[in-house]
């Protein structure tokens, strides 16, 4: 084991030894996570899936889990700024803060529980569901998350349950210490249910925040169920973030992922969707905006395992200074998956000489009656458009900001108008100041 791996193994071993009253099944999940992590080790750039991403900030960092959320009263102003109207659980440095959380107004048919409560109260369900979508045996960070399993959330939707208000999970790091947060989120949506889940990740200290968040979300959508999932990651520019979202879609189910990656010196986000029933529909939207020396790594995997499913994917990157963005999008269409309809687009805008984007669409198509399209672009601001704006009197810097925001806004506009859109705009504004002030329309 490398020194980095040894350090995390020690951290997880100490965590597991701390509490002897843990139910046997949970002990086993954690222990297996630890064993898988020790066996897999941290990925290197020699691993195909991590080719573009140097993990030394993770290997070299001395991150440790926080014992408790600590006193969180002073964070109420930050929470007020980031919270959406509706039920929410708030976590500070990876630990549940009951005083900042509020599940008032949770619609009928929805159950939202802190993971630490569910581990005690709903052992049978969790034992059956945890680790089914995110496989600790195959991915080191999932394994590390399992080894430190404790906090997070369980959202259950009863069959036919409908929720208009978004449910929010707000993960705050204080950002002043090298804390390792390992939230696990489990969503189980019954047949015909519909809901919106928002995961917000932020540093209380703003852009200077540090820490390491290693989050795993597992989603199982029943037949004809529908989930809109938002991931708003705007941790500090010194933070390290690894996120995995793993989805299994039942027959005729709909899944929409809006993935916004703005923060972190190193941020990796993975979305994987498997169609398990015919007629499923998945939309994966992503916007990553980096500056300074940020490295923002996106990976998506769509597994068309059954016929007649539709997937739409649009990821855009805006990279300034020495930032680097990577996109790797895998679309797998299995032999039986006839009538698959899949489209993937990745577009990158480089704002400086030293910014870099790597884009890698990867299609593996084994069925013959399919519609699959993909495209990838890396470009700069359009010189013609820039001159046009300047010729009307708009100063160069302002024109560049306008055009940059224009490039990104397609993904902001894809969010339905309302509090979630406003939250996205609020988090994006400091990164892309070209957003129009509200315009009166003719």
């Amino acid at each position: 084991m490398t020194p980095g791996v040894t350090r995390y193994v020690d951290v997880a071993s100490r965590f597991q030894a701390r509490d002897a009253t843990t139910p046997a099944w949970l002990q086993r999940v954690r222990q297996e996570g630890l064993e898988h992590f020790a066996r897999l080790g941290l990925p290197t750039t020699r691993d195909e899936a991590w080719k573009y991403t140097n993990l030394s900030p993770i290997a070299d960092g001395a991150f440790v889990p926080s014992a408790t959320a600590g006193s969180t009263a002073e964070l109420s102003a930050v929470v007020a700024r980031l919270a959406l109207p509706g039920p929410r659980l708030v976590f500070v440095d990876g630990r549940l803060s009951p005083e900042l959380s509020s599940v008032a107004g949770l619609p009928r048919g929805l159950t939202l529980k802190p993971l630490r409560d569910a581990l005690v109260e709903d052992g049978a369900l969790l034992e059956a569901e945890l680790g089914q979508r995110a496989l600790a045996a195959e991915q080191a960070f999932t394994a590390l998350n399992a080894a430190l399993l404790e906090d997070g959330a369980v959202l259950r939707l009863a069959p036919g349950a409908l929720s208009e208000v978004p449910v929010q999970l707000l993960f705050l790091t204080r950002g002043d210490a090298p804390v390792l947060a390992s939230p696990r989120i489990l969503v189980v949506a019954g047949e015909g249910s519909e809901a919106t889940l928002v995961e917000t990740y932020a540093s209380a200290t703003g852009v200077s925040g540090q820490g390491f968040t290693n989050a795993v979300t597992e989603v199982t959508l029943g037949d004809n169920a529908s989930l809109k999932h938002y991931r708003l990651q705007s941790e500090g520019d010194a933070a390290v973030h690894v996120g995995g979202l793993h989805v299994l879609q039942g027959r005729d189910s709909r899944f929409v992922s809006h993935n916004f990656a703005f923060g972190g010196v190193l941020a990796r986000n993975e979305v994987s969707v498997t169609f398990a029933g015919e007629g499923g529909d998945a939309t994966l939207n992503g916007l990553y905006v980096g500056r300074g020396t940020q490295h923002l790594d996106q990976r998506t995997a769509l597994d068309h395992a059954v016929p007649r499913c539709t997937s739409r994917e649009l990821y855009k990157g805006v990279l300034d200074d020495r930032a680097r963005g990577t996109f790797h999008g895998l679309v797998k269409v299995r032999q039986d998956a006839q009538r698959t309809d899949s489209r993937q687009q990745n577009r990158n805008l480089l704002l400086s000489e030293h910014a870099q984007a790597d884009t890698r669409p990867q299609l593996e198509i084994l069925a013959d009656d399919v519609k699959c399209a993909h495209g990838a672009v890396v470009g700069r601001l359009d010189a013609q458009a820039l001159f046009y704006l300047r010729s009307r009197g708009i100063p160069r810097a302002e024109a560049e900001r306008l055009l940059t925001y224009a490039f990104a806004r397609e993904l902001v506009d894809a969010v339905p108008e309302g509090p979630v859109r406003a939250s996205v705009e609020g988090l994006l504004a400091p990164k892309l100041p070209g957003a129009p002030r509200t315009e009166v329309t003719a």
Binding site: D382, Q384, A385, F387, Y388, L389, R390, S391, R392, G393, I394, P395, R396, E398, A399, L402, L403, Y405, A406, F407, R409, E410, P436, R437, T438, E439, V440, T441, A442
Partner: protein, 263 residues
């Protein structure tokens, strides 16, 4: 004193000389037409005046109201009152037409030390001005030129000119590609903006435009120079006899091309 003075202007793109000594004086309130076959340098002149950086000025000077223009950035020229109606207006997805135009107007007003217009006041003014070229309100809410027809794009250019109120408007082949109804609308808009304080340089390939926008002076460009200047009758003579009449080598080619639909 002339509002615009172009003196011995030379410009090139790469190592290709395109303007080879242009002299042009346009007085306040005057409308000058510049005609000429394709490749004569008409559009290059327009681009150089507006500050497009693809061109390198190698000699000569341009004065606007006595002040040197060529050292200014495009946005500074706009604030000084220069406006170019583009031959090919650029589509800018994601930037709303109204937001763009208000940003432009307010940027110019800041330079002039004027108070910025808020969204309400601007909208009222823009609606009023849009009547000039019969531009539907729906166009104002769309992205700049995105999905506009050729005629709509050209009307949008004149609408912008109406809002920005330049001292010097350069119309680069604003008539190209327009059918006669659209041409009448655009020309009507331009005529509505004629004033003793506003000069115009109207660049065109076709005499037809000058039936609707009647110029004070006509210049014929060829090979990067102005080879003939005169009154309106010069345009009529050109229409009758073709560019070949002036002994231009590429006159024949130009006459043929003029008959084609151009994009």
């Amino acid at each position: 004193m002339a509002l615009l003075s172009v003196r011995n202007l030379h410009a090139r793109v790469g190592d290709k000389d395109i303007l080879k000594g242009i002299d042009l004086e346009v007085g306040a309130g005057e409308v000058h037409a510049i005609m000429g076959p394709n490749g004569s340098g008409k559009s290059t002149l327009a681009s150089v005046l507006a500050g497009r950086d693809a061109y390198e000025v190698t000699q000569g000077e341009v004065l606007l109201d006595g002040k040197p223009l060529l050292e200014l950035a495009p946005e500074a020229r706009a604030a000084e009152g220069v406006f170019l109606a583009f031959q090919y207006p650029v589509e800018i997805p994601g930037v709303g037409n109204l937001h763009f135009l208000r940003t432009a107007l307010n940027a110019q007003r800041r330079v002039k030390g004027l108070e910025e217009l808020d969204a309400m006041d601007f909208l009222q003014m823009a609606k009023e001005k849009s009547k000039l070229v019969q531009l539907d309100a729906a166009f104002m809410n769309r992205s700049v030129n995105e999905g506009f027809s050729g005629g709509e794009k050209k009307r949008n250019e004149i609408f912008q000119m109406a809002v920005l109120e330049p001292r010097l408007a350069i119309l680069d082949e604003t008539d190209s590609g327009l059918d006669i109804d659209a041409l009448r609308t655009v020309a009507g808009g331009v005529n509505g903006l004629r004033s003793p304080q506003r000069s115009m340089v109207v660049i065109t390939h076709y005499q037809r435009l000058l039936d609707y926008i009647v110029p004070d002076k006509v210049h014929v460009m060829a090979g990067g120079r102005i080879i003939r200047s005169g009154g309106r009758e010069l345009a009529l003579e050109l229409e009758e006899k073709g560019y070949g009449w002036l002994g231009l080598q590429d006159g024949k080619a130009a006459a043929t091309k003029g008959g084609e639909a151009r994009r």
